[in-house]
């Protein structure tokens, strides 16, 4: 059909945004809007304007004025990505009495001005995009958002500092919280640390009070030694299936007196909490201040589960709280929102062969050193070599191990510089040893961080700028015999140096949890190539995700230190509290609907739907979509052989005419050529 014959039935307004020079710098906006006004008349365009900042209140008023005065029935805004400002302009239309869903926002910034340099080509593309938007908007229909109630409870996954902070914020506001933790106790990595930079206050001293608060809080249900298995539903109404692993302890009877782990004859190397430096029993709490106080029996190492005899713990338990027959328990909880604070794993320094970790006894990882230096740790806080007695006279601390390295992880782990400076201080303070810090760049961007750096320099730490090439025990001269030699180019001198030390500490980087991709899938959020979870907006919305009702906090979003994790925990909580207060939430009315008349009852769609939202009426022999369950992916729409299913907001008419619109320009060209 040639455009001329078509009879415009809608009154469309087109608004082209300059976005300062962001768009106008590349796209000739004036030309574009003029073109729209002249060439899209057949589609019903009666006005086209360009303006510096459409999203500004003045820009919005401009649109609203036209809606009122020119009786616009459709609005097309050509500006940034709909993911940024769709809501803004829809509300503007609403304000002027036009149904918000009769407004279409097309992106000529992210997908045009910002990615092209050829101005003519970019301007042509903008025209095409707009003509596509216009062609599409005509087929929009007035819609009302779906309103669903929000369940007041919140699920928080991960009992580290970020999760703890979020839990307390929400619980204190009077709303129920389920806190799920994989380990037997909450506390996370922070519970393992010795001192915290830059203030050097003891990690446990500031963390344990919070852990106790969580333990005692009436609004918090702790589900430790548990993991989330399945998440159903959608924002406001999630149904979460959780597996509570058997503790083999009757928590209602257990007093946490500790006799069981005193009496337990089975020693196990504790490679979790003590990072492999210390031992625990087969029945244990990870650390004295554990919350909850109840121990767990580790059924892989427990003699009873291996040999079928022992039961020492049971014999001595004063309250008969041991129950060897306990089974894993599957429970389901209803929540309205979810916070993921599952934290990080430590980079395995064995992967850097030239640093000899795992091969050379006195090369330690940062987590090992935290335990070594921790007064509650295996050495009672004495910094000694692997032999358990010798105090090192010289220590080398290597920054950026596995970080900022294309062979391992590209990113900067953010905490290593400050952590390494902290280590330097602790070694100085406790052993008086000579300390070398080997760094590429020192990064101390936060409050009081650089002052800390200054302090460490003042304490006499020797800084060598250079990424260490290798740590070896191959001595080249008597001076090196029996030492670890750190070989490095001192880049500020421009010469290779070999520095003999007694102990090497590797500041290994932070990595996403080994199962982060699986977790992301379980909760339906996206995960970067590295494995960090992706926030809705890197700057403006760092704790929300693309999935409504699922939030992220702490290192799960990317490497960060304790203050930053606490901030995110609190921020996520605040976002959710705001939601809960609303009692209900408006959902995009993007849903599929089935026209009973046309449905042949073939049931193809039933199996296609991932949310089982399509039910089949045996009586009428037709399928029906449950709008509450439907997420609007549209797969069924595309699949229906009878064309009986239509997807609101993404109907065939809308898309087909958008295609026409996008191609209009070259149709003209082709005609011109012909």
């Amino acid at each position: 059909m040639s455009p001329a014959e078509k009879k415009p039935q809608e009154r469309v307004g087109v608004y082209v945004c300059h976005c300062g020079t962001n768009i106008a710098g590349v796209v000739n906006v004036a030309e574009v809007s003029k073109w729209a006004a002249d060439n899209l008349v057949h589609e019903g365009v009666i006005v086209a304007r360009d303006y510096k900042f459409m999203c500004s209140s003045l820009g919005q008023e401009l649109i609203q004025k036209d809606i009122k005065e020119l009786k616009l029935t459709r609005v097309v805004v050509a500006a940034c990505s709909p993911h940024l400002h769709e809501r803004t302009f829809r509300n503007a239309c609403k304000g002027a009495g036009l149904n918000p869903y009769l407004c279409e926002l097309v992106s000529i910034r992210e997908q045009d001005a910002w990615v092209h340099t050829d101005k003519i080509a970019a301007t042509e593309k903008a025209k095409a995009i707009i003509s596509g938007g216009v062609a599409r908007v005509i087929h929009h229909v007035p819609l009302e958002p779906l309103h669903v109630p929000i369940h007041p409870a919140t699920l928080i996954v991960g009992g580290g500092i970020a999760g703890i902070q979020a839990a307390l914020e929400i619980a204190d506001a009077g709303f129920p919280v389920y806190l799920v933790e994989r380990e037997p106790s909450i506390g996370g990595h922070m519970a393992q640390f010795d001192k915290t930079f830059p203030t050097l206050d003891c990690s446990a001293c500031i963390l344990t009070p919070k852990m106790v608060d969580v333990g005692n809080h009436p609004n918090i249900t702790m589900l430790t030694y548990s993991e989330v298995q399945k998440v159903d539903g959608y924002v406001g109404n999630f149904a979460v299936t959780i597996k509570k692993r058997a503790r083999y302890i009757k928590t209602e009877d257990c007093t946490g007196c500790g006799i069981c782990w005193e009496k337990c004859p089975k020693k196990v190397i504790d490679d979790k909490f003590e990072a492999g430096l210390g031992y625990r029993k087969a029945v244990y709490t990870p650390f004295p201040q554990a919350v909850p106080k109840y121990p767990v029996i580790d059924d892989i190492n427990c003699t009873y589960y291996i040999k079928g005899t022992c039961k020492a713990c049971e014999k001595f338990c004063p309250t008969n709280a041991i129950d060897f027959n306990q089974k894993d328990e599957i429970i389901t909880v209803e929540v309205g929102n979810i916070i993921l604070a599952t934290g990080w794993d430590l980079f395995d320094a064995r992967r850097v062969p030239n640093y000899g970790y795992g091969r050379l006894a006195n090369v330690f990882s940062n987590l090992e050193f935290e335990r070594l230096s921790n007064s509650a740790g295996p050495t009672g806080g004495n910094i000694v070599l692997r032999d358990g007695k010798t105090t090192p006279k010289s220590v080398g601390i290597i920054h950026c191990v596995g970080s900022r390295d294309k062979n391992y992880n590209n990113y900067c782990s953010a905490i290593c510089c400050m952590q390494s400076l902290k280590f330097a201080h602790l070694v100085h303070e406790k052993t008086g040893a000579t300390v070398y810090n080997f760094y590429i760049d020192i990064r101390t961007p936060a409050k009081a961080y650089d002052e800390f750096y200054q302090r460490i320099i003042e304490e006499g730490t020797l800084f060598v700028r250079g990424k260490v090439a290798e740590v070896t025990d191959a001595a080249r001269n008597p001076g090196e015999e029996g030492k670890l030699i750190v070989q490095v180019e001192d880049t500020l001198v421009g010469k290779q140096r070999r520095i003999p030390v007694d102990m090497v500490i590797l500041s290994a980087g932070l990595e996403p949890r080994f199962d982060s991709k699986a977790v992301a899938k379980t909760f339906g959020i996206s995960c970067s190539a590295d494995g960090w979870f992706i926030e809705r907006h890197p700057k403006l919305d760092p704790v929300a995700t693309m999935t409504e009702g699922v939030y992220i906090a702490g290192c799960v979003q990317g490497p960060k230190d304790i203050p930053a994790s606490v901030v995110q925990g609190a921020a996520a909580a605040a976002r959710i509290l705001g939601r809960i207060q609303q009692k209900e939430i408006a959902l995009e009315p993007v849903r599929a609907t089935i026209n009973e008349e046309q449905c042949s009852g073939c049931r193809i769609c039933n199996t296609l739907c991932p949310f089982n939202a399509i039910l089949f009426h045996e009586d009428k022999m037709v399928s029906e979509v449950n709008p509450a369950l439907c997420q609007g992916c549209g797969t069924c729409v595309a699949a229906c052989p009878a064309g009986a299913i239509s997807g609101t907001g993404f109907s065939n008419e809308q898309i087909l005419s958008q295609i026409d619109g996008l191609l209009l320009l070259n149709l003209d060209k082709k005609e011109a050529m012909a």
């Binding site: 709909p82 992106s107 899938k521 992706i534 595309a638 026409d660 149709l667």
Partner: protein, 159 residues
């Protein structure tokens, strides 16, 4: 470029379908990071690549597009759990039909890009445009008869 009209290389017009969750955001990411790519692709946002009805593709070709790009989340990452697999199956089926209709397989491309992969999205588009440029304009009359799919040597695409 200082091309006079006649020496100006053929600029293909490509319609691209993206899903709302991964590939459209990849395009946004490319924009936010100011990555440059060929301006020949015009995107249409669907909620999911699973929404892609083959008719859309036929329509695009009929409407004068020289090629069609279909993109979505990586297999396994679909926001709607598995719908992109369905898209994948449909795509290959569709490609066969198109070949019979006389449209080279090289004119359709399936691209997985996560929300973080702006760079990949940009590079792939530029590559695709080059490939289509080599195929030349889609000419219905000429290519009415079924054509044998022509493999374009990788290096020539590079050049």
């Amino acid at each position: 470029m200082t091309d006079t009209p006649e020496t100006k290389p053929f600029e293909p017009v490509i319609i691209g379908f993206t899903c709302n969750w991964c590939s459209y955001r990849a395009a946004d990411m490319a924009g936010i990071s100011r990555m440059k790519y060929a301006p020949n692709v015009r995107l249409i946002r669907l909620m999911c690549s699973g929404r892609l009805d083959p008719t859309f593709v036929f329509k695009a070709f009929a409407g004068g597009a020289d090629a069609v790009l279909v993109s979505g989340c990586h297999p396994g990452d679909c926001h709607y759990s598995t719908q992109n697999y369905k898209a994948m199956r449909r795509f290959h089926l569709m490609q066969r039909v198109l070949t019979q209709m006389g449209i080279e397989p090289g004119r359709t491309k399936l691209l997985w890009a996560s929300a973080a992969e702006g760079q990949i999205f940009a590079n792939e588009i530029t590559k695709f445009v080059e490939e289509v440029r080599l195929l030349g304009p889609l000419n219905w009359n000429k290519s009415a008869a079924p054509v044998v799919p022509v493999e374009v040597p990788a290096e020539e695409v590079q050049a």
